[in-house]
């Protein structure tokens, strides 16, 4: 049997170890490590790069944007009295906030685009918390590109990145505080873009697509997008939109000619919304009458 003193010391050591573990792990959450997925030879622009542009359409009746109850925080209610969801922003049949990117492909000389590296912008992308929602709602960055996070609201937010391939990151930002900077080191667009949320205001969501190359764009309010500086070649282009567990992806093969302008129009609709038409009670059973609130 251990003596009382020994047991006391063992207990103290266990407690201190537990607290040290907690402390070190929480620090670890803020320090990203490169996954090595960004390796390859540098791409040298040849001057014959082209563009991929297109329009994201929404077929069928546009889903109604849902009103958000902001009454839990008076500052949100006063700044955004009519806040609505931004998951399916449709105007004249055109869909905003769709992230379009080159997934993979082959350049005209037969080399794979995945085998190249591209310079990471030193200027940060900006994610603002304004009116108790994120601006922009969908953001694209290159891996290792800094993201500046600002708070333009008269309330405190916490910014919680919930990636699957990068470390979690959760920071508080009071109103008037200096901008925070966060960097995602590993490319992450699949199975979903990185979701950013505020645990204080659970309706606040934003999505960040992280790629090792600069060939991505987010559709504007009129559904349009343009990806510039694309080397001539044949690519699989993906359009991703939020909804459901991991969002919805549409893929299209696009060929970009030398100095050419390729078109890639995508269409989403009710079936791609990630909204069930019936409620699954068990994986194999469905109750059609319980589909909607």
């Amino acid at each position: 049997m251990l003596s009382k003193n020994t047991r006391l010391w063992l207990g103290l050591i266990a407690l201190i170890s537990l607290l040290s573990l907690a402390s070190s792990c929480s620090k670890g959450g803020g320090e990203e490590e490169s996954t090595g997925e960004t390796g390859g030879k540098p791409y040298t622009a040849k001057g014959n790069e082209g563009t991929i542009s297109g329009v994201i359409s929404y077929t069928g009746a546009a889903p109604e944007l849902k009103k958000i109850d902001t009454s839990a925080d008076a500052a949100c209610t006063s700044k955004s009295p009519d806040l609505k969801t931004e998951d399916w922003v449709v105007k004249d049949g055109k869909l905003a906030n769709t992230f379009v990117y080159i997934k993979d492909g082959t350049l005209a000389d037969g080399s794979k685009i995945e085998g190249f590296t591209f310079p990471v912008p030193t200027s940060p992308a900006t994610l603002d918390q304004n009116g108790c929602h994120y601006k922009p709602h969908v953001l694209g960055v290159m891996a290792k590109q800094p993201i500046n996070i600002t708070n333009s609201d008269p309330t405190t937010h916490n910014i919680h990145f919930t990636p699957k391939k990068n470390p979690d990151w959760n920071q508080s930002q009071p109103n008037g505080a200096a901008a925070l900077t966060h960097t995602l080191n590993a490319p992450e667009v699949s199975p979903s873009l990185v979701q950013v949320k505020c645990n204080q205001h659970p309706w606040m969501k934003s999505y960040v697509g992280v790629l090792k190359h600069p060939f991505f764009a987010v559709s504007a309010e009129d559904g349009s997008f343009t990806i510039k500086g694309v080397p001539p070649g044949k690519y699989n282009v993906v359009a991703w939109h939020e909804g459901g567990a991991n969002g919805t992806e549409k893929t299209m093969q696009v060929t970009v000619a030398a100095s050419g302008a390729a078109k890639a129009d995508f269409s989403f609709g009710a079936t791609a919304m990630g909204q069930p038409s019936s409620l699954q009670v068990l994986p194999a059973l469905e109750f059609p009458m319980l589909g909607k609130h």
Partner: protein, 304 residues
């Protein structure tokens, strides 16, 4: 036995139940990381209670109150209870609440890893078990149980049945905690865990149902055992309904703009009712052990 001690033990058990409800609200509102630091909240003892900070910091305040009540209970037991094992149980309760507080801190510091969150929810139920047990052990009916009644019928002993029921409920609570913490309100619940929890519900219903029926048939007229059995039957029935309702509302929540009241209220009620099923089975088990000699199939007084 001090009546005051028993009443205080009841207060601690009730406060623990309230704490479980507060904790369930944190999970259902996805408020676990609304306050990124610990043990202080935004570096303060009392931050502004806006948005989900209300749920997270409110949970911390109630937990602090339960911790203090447990310290008082542990000291109270040293002073007013002559049984050595009860004095030890007081310290065990105190160790449990301290460990639970540290686990709660770990959930924040480690950004809610599943194993820590599930462990935090499980230890909450084990601490509740401890406080309910202390309330039972300090009760007048434990010290002076009713007159024993001979029961020589064959079949499963009520002791074995209650223990199996208790273990199955605890396993189901662990499964439920793991299921709840494996996906936030805006994500779909993992099918494998969901099916395991449904299977667990069927097992618990069969085992606890058999225990209740056996108790009611074998010890008919003996309220000492039938009362907790009837209460367990009632909360089990409600719990099954709440489980189905929780599933229906939770399945819809990924498509809602935020955690809505029906989903939050029903899932929290499901957690709370699960704790009540556990508590009533604890009472039934302890009482069965107090008055029933399973091997002989007759009532004997266990050591006080």
């Amino acid at each position: 036995m001090s009546k005051g001690l028993h009443r205080f033990a009841l207060l601690v058990a009730c406060a623990t139940f309230f704490l479980i409800i507060a904790g369930a609200n944190v999970t259902s509102h996805d408020a676990g990381l609304a306050v990124p630091d610990w043990p202080l909240s935004f570096g303060k003892v009392f931050p502004q209670m806006v948005g989900n900070v209300f749920w997270e910091h409110g949970h911390r305040m109630i937990a602090t109150a339960v911790g203090m009540l447990t310290i008082v209970l542990a000291v109270y037991l040293q002073l007013r209870d002559s049984r050595r094992w009860m004095k030890r149980l007081g310290w065990i309760a105190l160790a449990g609440v301290i460990a639970q507080g540290l686990l709660g801190g770990l959930t924040v510091k480690l950004l809610l890893p599943l194993w820590v969150s599930a462990a935090h929810a499980t230890l909450a139920q084990l601490f509740f078990l401890t406080t309910v047990s202390i309330a039972v052990f300090t009760s007048r009916s434990w010290v002076m149980p009713p007159t024993s009644i001979a029961d020589n019928r064959a079949g499963f002993s009520i002791r074995s049945l209650t223990v199996v029921a208790l273990v199955s409920i605890l396993a189901q609570l662990v499964l439920g905690a793991t299921l709840r913490h494996s996906a936030t309100w805006d994500q779909e619940l993992p099918t494998s865990l969901l099916l395991a929890h449904v299977g667990g519900a069927i097992c618990v219903t069969l085992i606890l149902g058999a225990t209740i029926v056996t108790t009611l048939l074998r010890y008919r007229g003996d309220k000492y055992l039938t009362r907790p059995a009837v209460f367990a039957a009632a909360v089990l029935f409600v719990q099954l309904g709440l489980g189905l309702a929780a599933y229906v509302t939770r399945s819809r929540s990924p498509y809602d703009p935020q955690p809505l009241t029906p989903m939050v209220a029903i899932t929290v009620a499901h957690v709370a009712c699960g704790a009540l099923v556990f508590a009533s089975t604890i009472v039934l088990t302890l009482r069965a052990f107090r008055v029933v000699d399973a091997e002989q199939g007759e009532y004997v007084l266990a050591a006080a």
